[in-house]
Symmetry: C2
Subunit: 459 residues, 2 copies
């Protein structure tokens, strides 16, 4: 392992690259069970990074069980259970492995198409906003009223949600809003029902506020609501329009059943409507909040449909919660840039937002169709494609008797970054590994290249 | 009270305007003890606002003891203790009072000087940033590395704080960072020492996480640290460079004493260095974090020195806390716009930031001198001026035997908005009322007009 050439590439944090490299060393047997790792100081020195960076990498490895710290003695490699890593099937192609390669194709979900971004319009509006007097003040704690009004209009038109600007709270991310909201909800409720699999980031926000989790199993075909009756909590977090990660939508019957359940229990449904804009086969289903606004906390954001980095999210609260929220957070400053808020408000007011959404729905629909056809052509019966009706990614269930780790690792050896779905699961495991492939910012050529490389890597 | 003409003005939220109007009615005796208020529905209808708005206004009045709710019967006026409101001294100048007037001069702290803002440079850089590929992705959870590197350089040069980019966490506001940090700290510590008076927003963030508060009395001349020994907590929140609201700085002896205390207790000091840039009489004192980074959690932001609405704050964490924080929040999305972060990083890298700070220090120094001289000339011995050495506001202690409420109210009748300091106090009351006057976004003419009107209102 000594004298390895290690080159940092791309914008992945260095500690992650170090972590991934060491994981590889251990999986490949370059580092043996009980072998000592270089000290934090040594490694930091030889890689020319801070000690903190190396420590972060090591801690991640400790957390995942690859290594252990033995106090002042240092860090040592743990014995690995062979079935996890399927060592034998990893090709010992050292040259490809020992330096962290830049990826030729990154199937990352959570980026947007840059080529169709309305750059000129956005610039023009945001430059105008910088001339306004109000841009030089602190903003309203719950968000600028102009933006809240525009969101109210949009929610009514496109999601059937009747609300007014006063009931909308602007925040910087779904997790930040869930964390703040949790401070209100935890006075009444000690546990929450979450989907399994489901969005891991939301779970973490609930757990930080001390909520216990009950899990509702979700399958490719949807959730089984009959188990809800056995659960203790009267609070549930769901993504009815586009389940994460399966992409399945709740039927209208399921929506009514859920509302009915919440009413009987005097509970609340947290509806995360995170990318309802991109549905390709039919009109989006109406939001739960359009059926019964008294029992639904509605969450939306501009990350998928506009720009993830702008950090602009919102929630609509039912009246009693709204008052408690506003009382509690009245003296908290807004967490969202007033410039972004005012620019987005103007962008919506001038009709640019709805034009953008319509345009992007078409762009992404074409990309989805192309991507799915390429995947089918290359992999035929070796994969199943899940979630092609909507959203900016698909899952592929890979019928090749390899583990998720192996698939990701092999892809990475061929310069393709693909993503796990195991992070979304709690107890309800998938029978075969599923890989998440985002395509929103890839060109058709990049998609084709990526799929071709994946085929080489896996088959 | 019926048929009052009520006009909403300016950008103050409507519920606040309603709340202020009703407070006035009660203080003036337009609404008598036990008189019933209009119902939420009636008032909302007659003012053409949402019920939520009127409910918020009423709830604020309930919270402050002006009125009480009696369930379905409605809201009723409470009996007021005469000394609080000094009813007799309020002029019954009805015409001026019954409509909410727009303010001629608003001495609001927390805005910045718009005329000297580097608009062209900022625009140029932010337009360039929108062309970058990384602007179309989610950002790093703890902030963009470019910005963290620039902040590290700035902290070393201007505050003597040696840190590296890895130890810096970018957030959207001081309160958001304190709230997130509190989730880490509360595992170890159940109470926190806060300054009295001190920043109310920080207290609320601590209380949301269940921290009990112990109070350290602070006077115009500074805090008395001898009481620290009697306190139970090993966690303290202070603003050593510019106390809020007194503006006093801790001496170097006090700084060392505080560090010594934290070391003995194995505790932490949260140092809020919120507007250290603007010190007019001498060089800024070095930050606590420059003396002992292992015991100090350092907080800074760009709200006072650049733009409050941009929502860009940061903290520097000591190593053990840093790892815990990063482990806990590794999967939380950033709360701050990647566009603002990358623009600010470039702005700093190109030297624009330090040029801006130098320019603004001069601008604000001149404003402060002018403001203080006008206040002295008009009020002579009737006020004492507190905190003129630094910052973007002064306090004036008013020796006229009137309450804070009366002073604010009378000012408002003359079209001048001034701000209370009582909100900063917990137990340690001020002997005479103190009014907070911000001047950062006012011209010399506006300051003069404001002071003239205040003199008319008060004397």
């Amino acid at each position: 392992m000594k004298n390895t050439i290690f080159t940092f590439k791309g914008d992945t944090p260095k500690y992650k690259q170090i972590y991934e490299q060491f994981k590889l060393f251990i999986e490949q047997g370059d580092l043996l069970t009980d072998e000592q790792l270089p000290s934090i100081r040594q490694l930091a020195g030889s890689l020319q990074v801070s000690r903190n960076t190396t420590l972060m990498a090591y801690e991640q490895l400790v957390a995942e069980g690859y290594i252990r710290g033995e106090g002042k003695k240092g860090y040592f490699v743990n014995e690995l259970e062979p079935y996890i890593f399927q060592k034998s099937s990893i090709s010992p192609d050292k040259k490809q492995i020992t330096s962290v390669k830049p990826y030729s194709v990154d199937f990352r979900a959570g980026a947007v198409d840059q080529t169709h971004f309305p750059l000129k319009t956005w610039r023009k509006i945001s430059n105008r906003i910088l001339n306004l007097k109000e841009s030089f003040f602190y903003g309203e704690p719950f968000g600028e009223v102009n933006l809240r009004q525009q969101i109210a209009v949009y929610l009514l038109q496109s999601r059937g949600v009747k609300t007014d600007a006063d009931a909308i709270i602007i925040g910087s991310s779904t997790q930040q809003l869930l964390l703040y909201l949790g401070h209100i909800l935890k006075d009444d409720v000690s546990s929450i029902i979450v989907e399994d699999p489901g969005y891991d980031g939301a779970r973490e926000a609930f757990q930080l506020n001390g909520f216990k989790l009950e899990t509702l199993a979700v399958y490719e075909t949807g959730a089984d609501f009959s188990s809800l009756e056995r659960m203790k909590s009267r609070l549930i977090y769901v993504a009815p329009s586009h389940h994460s990660p399966y992409g399945v939508s709740m039927s209208i019957q399921q929506r009514h059943a859920l509302i009915h359940w919440a009413n009987r229990r005097h509970g609340y449904i947290i509806e995360d409507d995170y990318d309802s804009e991109f549905r390709y086969t039919q009109q989006p289903f109406p939001a739960l909040a359009s059926i019964d606004s008294a029992r639904v906390i509605y969450l939306g954001n501009f990350s998928k449909s506009f720009l993830p980095g702008i950090r602009l999210s919102y929630m609509v609260l039912p009246q009693p919660l709204l008052h408690r929220y506003k009382n509690q957070f009245l003296h908290f400053e807004s967490t969202t840039s007033i410039l972004s808020q005012l620019t987005m408000a103007k962008f919506m007011e001038e009709g640019e937002w709805s034009r953008h959404i319509k345009r992007m729905r078409l762009v992404y629909k074409r990309k989805m169709q192309h991507f799915v056809s390429v995947l089918r052509k290359e992999f035929e019966q070796n994969i199943s494609i899940i979630g092609e009706q909507s959203g900016l990614y698909v899952l592929i269930k890979v019928h090749l008797k390899h583990s998720e780790e192996w698939l990701i690792h092999r892809a990475s050896c061929h310069g393709v970054k693909v993503y796990p779905t195991s992070i979304y699961f709690i107890k309800n495991n998938s029978d075969e590994p599923m890989i998440k492939l985002g395509f929103s910012n890839l060109s058709c050529d990049e998609m084709e290249l990526g799929v071709e490389l994946l085929k080489k890597a896996w088959m």
